[in-house]
């Protein structure tokens, strides 16, 4: 019995030693590879159009520079990325969400290269600041989207509204939503998440965190005013969350005709053209609130890991991707706004339907990047459906503030 136990112990010890010797758990920054490199690129799940356009541009670069590019599109990007980093073999270039930025930037897992890019100064300042960590502009924003008010023009004309009625402030938005509401159609439809409600916060002069991004400011009078306004809209019956009228998202509601106005980003353009080509619509800037105009910007950046041995090659690929002509070509491909001002202006000239979205770029608020805030905001989202049934906005803000303080304080 004793001998057997000893043997098991020996086997265990051997297994431990073997595992310890394994490769992949090497954290020191790698030597740069010389000669031609094979870049592993990880993209998120996107439309096939977007994937093909990106892939084509990358292949052109590969041929010109004598490198190879291996593009993988992941259905679950955060998971695959986390696995890559935890195992010590992250992809050489990947798409990174703002919500995960600080988590990777803080321990120095991200290679800070963006300041050296040829067009770095031309990138929108609001986007730059999202991906800046401790004064260093870490990774280059890929492209971006903003929110606008998308209107079903036929419904608009049918109730006798004209261009002069386009809502400029909250009161006007409330009024037109009421006029546009019929038993089968809601005047305004939006998603029940902070990515839409946050725009109202900005319009009221509030936001989730202070400008440094390190202090929670969820429970503020401004945010409370915004949430009260949204609740009033919801309870008046003129406004609904997409889920409540059996739609996966607001764009679908607009396409199906169960919404006359929606608050969405410019991804709605491609989606409507593909799924509901008969729908006639126009986009205008979001109405201003008591503190002025406000909208949100959504973007991702091109992340390069510190441990990659192909950093230089990856950097030159990003330089190629953020080149004005390439950004413009990408925009053509699938309708996102280039992150560089020059490219964006060119792009909007040839795409008038993007004007309203681009107009928001100058005052748009980027997503918060603090580590751990994602689950706090998810909890906020989960409480929003309750607004319709009379949940107390003050209580929602207070509990979110408490949760955010716990995360940011650590």
């Amino acid at each position: 019995m004793n001998g057997r136990r000893r043997r098991i112990g020996a086997a265990l010890a051997a297994a431990l030693v073997l595992a310890g010797c394994g490769e992949g758990f090497d954290d020191s920054p790698r030597q740069q590879a010389t000669g031609s490199a094979t870049l592993q690129v990880l993209l998120g799940s996107a439309t096939s159009v977007e994937l093909e356009a990106t892939r084509a541009i990358m292949q052109t670069w590969a041929q010109r520079s004598g490198n190879r590019v291996n593009v993988v599109a992941s259905a679950d990007l955060p998971q695959q990325l986390g696995q890559g980093f935890a195992g010590g073999t992250p992809p050489d270039l990947f798409v990174l969400e703002p919500g995960a930025f600080t988590r990777y930037a803080q321990p120095g897992a991200l290679h800070a290269y963006a300041d050296r890019l040829p067009g770095a100064d031309d990138i929108y300042p609001s986007l730059r600041s999202i991906f800046t960590h401790e004064g260093k502009f870490v990774c280059a924003p890929k492209d971006f989207s903003t929110l606008a008010l998308v209107i079903d023009t036929e419904a608009w004309a049918a109730v006798g509204l004209t261009d002069a009625d386009l809502p400029k402030d909250w009161a006007q938005l409330e009024a037109v939503a009421k006029r546009l509401t019929t038993p089968k159609r809601k005047g305004l439809v939006l998603m029940d998440d902070v990515d839409r409600i946050g725009a109202f916060f900005r319009q009221a002069g509030g936001w989730l965190v202070d400008p440094s991004g390190k202090k929670a400011t969820v429970d503020s009078p401004q945010n409370l005013q915004a949430l009260h306004y949204v609740q009033r809209l919801l309870r008046s019956g003129t406004t609904a969350f997409a889920k409540q009228i059996d739609s996966g998202w607001s764009g679908e509601a607009l396409g199906k005709g169960s919404a006359a106005m929606v608050i969405e980003g410019n991804w709605v353009i491609g989606a409507l053209a593909k799924d509901y080509p008969q729908r006639k619509w126009r986009a205008v800037e979001l109405p201003a609130g008591p503190a002025g105009k406000g909208t949100l910007a959504f973007t991702n950046c091109w992340g390069i890991p510190t441990v990659s041995k192909n950093r230089q090659a990856a950097e030159s690929l990003v330089a190629h991707l953020t080149d004005v002509s390439q950004q413009n070509a990408l925009g053509e491909g699938f309708g996102v706004i280039p992150s560089r001002r020059l490219a964006a202006t060119l792009f909007a000239r040839s795409h008038p339907e993007q004007q309203a979205f681009l107009a928001g770029a100058d005052y748009a608020q980027g997503e918060p990047t603090a580590k751990g805030l994602e689950s706090v905001l998810k909890d906020f989202d989960a409480q929003l459906l309750g607004l319709t049934n009379g949940a107390d906005p003050k209580a929602i803000l207070a509990s979110t503030q408490r949760n955010a303080e716990q995360v940011l304080g650590r």
Binding site: R7, I8, A11, L12, A14, A15, L16, L18, A19, G20, G24, F25, D26, D27, D76, P78, Q79, G82, Q83, F85, A86, G88, A100, R103, Y104, Q106, P107, A109, K243, Q244, I245, D246, K371, G372, E374, S375, V376, K378, D379, A382, Q383, L385, G386, N389, G390, N403, Q406, V407
Partner: protein, 328 residues
């Protein structure tokens, strides 16, 4: 010596990962480097404390996930076991024509991919889907199933006039237990979770039917014949002879059902990811979300070990209960 390869395999693929997970659960590790490098700060039992004792979002989420899964298990395990036994009795019946067909039909959901079935259910239960169309035929205005966070028990209390769901009394909404109010604990499964429960019952009962069927076919014929000779009715024969002989199988099915249900993940991942209003959050999904989506691997690993503890305790309790039931 002959066992050495087996032990080595077991050690590499079972024991080592478990030890590593246990190690991660006492770290504040964000997943951007190796957990064995010593760079990750050791926080001792902090992750467990955040889930069990400290007031905060982590504990609240975990408590919610345990509540959701508790109602889920409390409904799905007994129902799927009874249903499986019933189905097995039906297809075991020699006088039934086309037994092969029914056997295959009942087993079919179990061999189909959980993801595929979940997607089909999403369509069936969508607000304008088949289920609501059928309900509409009977004049019932069906809910938007997967978007409906209302607790079934809450609605029931409301319908019976016991408690007003919009304004629960102070002793319910004011008393807090492990981060949730008593009122929240008593919510029952949400409408969305009820739909997931239905799906789970439907897919797993075929599987367990097969186990019951195998057990039924192994029952000694002579005992059943003896019961017939003694003049039992069919019901008496079933409850007094068949079921007692099936008890070991019932125990197996209950245990497997209990473990499988507590670990439910695929269906949640496809159907709701915790939505609406976190009422389909389960510990397994929460662990995944905290680890991979948010980089709090220590917390995720701690959730996994607490889930393990819950399952061990419940299985042990169930074993005690069933054994007592048998000796009495």
């Amino acid at each position: 010596m002959f066992a050495a390869p087996g032990i080595a395999l077991l050690a590499t693929f079972v024991l080592l990962p478990m030890l590593l997970a246990l190690w991660v659960s006492v770290l504040d590790w964000d997943g951007t480097y190796s957990p064995l490098s010593g760079k990750a700060p050791v926080v001792g039992l902090d992750n467990y404390a955040a889930l069990l004792t400290e007031d905060g979002l982590a504990r609240r989420d975990f408590a919610l996930s345990v509540r959701n899964t508790f109602y889920f298990v409390a409904i799905s395990v007994p129902v799927q076991t009874l249903l499986a036994l019933g189905l097995a009795m039906v297809v075991h019946n020699r006088t039934l024509r086309g037994r092969g067909f029914f056997r295959a039909a009942f087993y079919f959901p179990s061999v189909t991919s959980a993801v595929a079935i979940s997607v089909v259910f999403l369509f069936l239960f969508s607000g304008s889907g088949a289920i609501n169309a059928v309900l509409g035929f009977f004049g019932i205005d069906g809910p938007t199933w997967f978007a409906d966070p209302r607790g079934v028990l809450h609605e029931l209390f409301g319908a019976l006039g016991l408690v007003d769901p919009a304004a629960p009394p102070e002793w319910l909404s004011g008393t807090r237990l492990w981060g949730l109010t008593l009122w929240e604990w008593l919510s029952g499964p949400s409408v969305a979770m009820a739909a997931v429960t239905l799906l789970m019952i439907w897919t797993t009962s075929g599987n367990f039917m097969l186990i019951f069927l195998a057990a039924l076919q192994n029952l000694p014929e002579d005992v059943l014949e003896a019961a017939d000779v003694d003049g039992t009715t069919r019901w008496q024969r079933f409850t007094k002879v068949t079921v007692p002989m099936l008890m070991p199988t019932v125990f197996l099915v209950l245990t497997m059902g209990l473990i499988g249900s507590w670990q439910v993940f695929d269906q949640i991942y496809v159907m709701g990811q915790g939505n609406p209003a976190k009422t389909t959050l389960t510990p397994a999904f929460l662990s995944y979300q905290r680890s991979f989506a948010e980089g709090s691997y220590g917390l995720g690993a701690a959730i996994a070990f607490l889930l393990f503890a819950i399952i061990v305790v419940l299985t042990w309790a169930q074993r005690r209960l069933l054994r007592d039931g048998r000796t009495s």
